[in-house]
């Protein structure tokens, strides 16, 4: 499921989730810390109040003065959070008690029972100095401390306060935290929308570039990126891959279209190219010429000098042909010692000029088959010119005509040409 989601949405989700999770952890810690602080603060205030009341209560307890004890406890009315205060003498009898008007009698009874239980359970503890019992319940918290007179315990003071103020403050904090969290998550999502582009834009640009290369097959394309990070490396690797593909394509093209020995166009490629030339010439009405060349007595060269020299002769002949034709003429080795020159946009006169250059070139070209040993070759040529034939002639017919003219040249004694 997650794998089907676009990277940009994954990034938004991940950034949002990461931020949200961090915020949640932080909020939980903050809330728990606040709860502890509030609770600690509240119980601390209760301890302080108990200490003050105990100090004032000492004389009243020492002399069993219930009225004074009541007067002292009455001062607790100033603190609306104190629900119940009970002073017990050393015998466990209630000397005085204070009950807030906010505390219903039934609840007070429950609290008194809870206090009585604490006093029973911790009677020994409450005989010792600096000892106290504290309880924190969901709706109240209480502290019980012994009161000492001249080093002797003379009673206990118990104070109970409600936790409403604490919870109110705590709820207010949680509400603020929730609001802050929601705002932060919204901000995070907004920022995630912006930040995801930092990561997705280079990827999307790369995908777009790859798609363009796939459609155009233009492997010379170079994709650029402003990034200096891993994206830069990704782009570099991709560009390097395109260069490799381009070089491989060129290599394959060369292998598929050229003759391995001479470097000239091979038969298959030449046939395609000549077909295109003829079709274009027939469509535009421009003249087209084809010269078929066959080396004279090549078999004897092979027989007398060996195939290595024969191959050298073919390579040197290719050089002569290439130097004799125009830049845009197509020179092809059809096979063996047979070559073809296709002359695009060439009149008969132009073809004859090229033929003459070939014959002269071969005649003047000394081939050094071993150091200091030279030989010369001649060739017979058949020339086809579209100016002498109908326009709708096929390539096969042109080749056949040129071949026939070539044999006429052979028959005429070689080292010459004949027109088809």
């Amino acid at each position: 499921m997650f794998n089907r989601i676009a990277i940009r949405y994954k990034l938004i989700i991940l950034l949002g989730l990461s931020g949200g999770f961090a915020l949640l952890i932080s909020s939980l810690i903050m809330v728990y810390s606040t709860y502890l602080n509030q609770s600690k603060s509240s119980i601390q205030i209760l301890h302080q109040l108990t200490d003050i009341i105990s100090e004032n209560m000492r004389a009243a307890l020492a002399f069993g003065d219930a009225n004074s004890a009541s007067n002292i406890l009455a001062s607790l009315q100033a603190n609306p959070h104190i629900l119940l205060a009970i002073v017990n003498d050393q015998a466990g009898q209630v000397l005085s008690e204070y009950r807030s008007h906010l505390l219903p009698a039934t609840h007070a009874q429950v609290h008194k029972q809870a206090l009585a239980q604490i006093l029973r359970e911790h009677a020994d503890t409450l005989q010792q100095t600096d000892q106290f019992i504290q309880r924190t319940q969901p709706d109240w918290m209480g502290v019980v401390k012994p009161v000492f007179f001249e080093g002797q315990p003379i009673g206990t003071l118990a104070l109970l306060s409600d936790t409403r103020a604490m919870w109110k403050e705590f709820r207010r904090f949680v509400l603020m935290q929730v609001i802050a969290s929601i705002l932060t998550v919204v901000l995070l999502l907004f920022l995630s929308l912006k930040f995801q582009a930092i990561f997705t834009r280079p990827i999307l640009n790369l995908i777009s570039g790859m798609r363009n290369v796939a459609q155009t097959k233009n492997y010379r394309t170079v994709l650029t990126s402003d990034h200096q990070d891993e994206f830069k490396h990704l782009y570099d690797v991709f560009n390097s891959m395109l260069v490799d593909i381009q070089e491989r394509d060129e290599r394959l093209f060369k292998l598929a279209t050229t003759d391995a020995l001479t470097g000239l166009a091979n038969r298959h490629h030449a046939m395609e190219q000549m077909h295109g030339m003829i079709t274009r010439a027939q469509r535009t009405g421009q003249p087209f010429g084809l010269i078929m060349i066959d080396l004279d007595f090549f078999k004897k060269i092979n027989d007398n000098y060996g195939h290595q020299t024969g191959d050298l002769v073919l390579q040197e002949t290719a050089k002569v042909l290439l130097s004799s034709v125009r830049d845009y003429d197509l020179v092809t080795r059809l096979g063996g010692e047979e070559f073809v020159v296709a002359c695009d946009d060439a009149s008969l006169q132009t073809c004859i000029v090229i033929v003459e250059r070939i014959l002269q070139g071969l005649a003047s070209h000394n081939i050094e088959y071993t150091p200091g040993c030279y030989l010369n070759v001649t060739a017979s040529l058949g020339v086809y010119s579209s100016t002498l034939h109908s326009a709708d002639t096929s390539i096969e017919a042109i080749l056949s005509a040129a071949d026939a003219a070539l044999y006429q040249a052979k028959d005429a004694g070689r080292n010459t040409y004949r027109l088809a």
Binding site: N56, R58, A59, A60, A62, F63, G64, D65, S68
Partner: protein, 164 residues
């Protein structure tokens, strides 16, 4: 009748025991002028209402960092230097003389006689139904050179002007 008498005696016993405790506790809130006495002396003048309770309670105890010494006297003449004088005399003239004695010797006078504080005595202690009622003649205490702590004053009925 016998049961009623028994109950009355029991209440009296409790009150006497409570009084013995409170006599010592008063000392915690009173400051005497410097004295060279090595003991803290408590004297009961008149009939001893406590029996052996005082001895039992204050035996080997310390008040004001001094070991407690108990004296019992039937007449004022028998009273020596003392820190606390518990006056249990039944005639007013005797009580007044004792108050005068205490006043002259920087002694804390205590009594459960009605009108004691109003007559110049320093602490009048009454226990009614096991509830303590304390009345302090602060002016008399000051005149005697005694300083009474505010916690004790805060729980007592305080007479601030010297009574006639």
């Amino acid at each position: 009748m016998t049961l009623l008498a028994s109950s009355v005696y029991a209440d009296h016993d409790v009150e006497s025991r409570l009084t013995t405790v409170l006599i010592g506790r008063f000392a915690s809130y009173v400051k005497w002028p410097p004295s060279e006495r090595t003991h803290f002396v408590i004297t009961v003048l008149g009939d001893n209402p406590f029996g052996t309770m005082l001895d039992e309670l204050y035996h080997s105890k310390h008040i004001q960092n001094k070991p407690v010494e108990l004296h019992y006297a039937q007449t004022l003449n028998q009273v020596g230097p003392t820190d606390i004088l518990f006056i249990n005399l039944h005639n007013a003239s005797g009580r007044q003389a004792a108050i005068q004695f205490a006043h002259q010797h920087a002694t804390l006078s205590i009594s459960d006689s009605r009108g004691f504080a109003d007559s110049g005595g320093i602490i009048q202690l009454n226990i009614v139904e096991q509830k303590t009622q304390i009345k302090i003649n602060h002016a008399a205490a000051i005149a005697s050179g005694l300083k009474i702590g505010s916690p004790l004053l805060s729980i007592a009925t305080v007479l601030r002007k010297e009574q006639p």
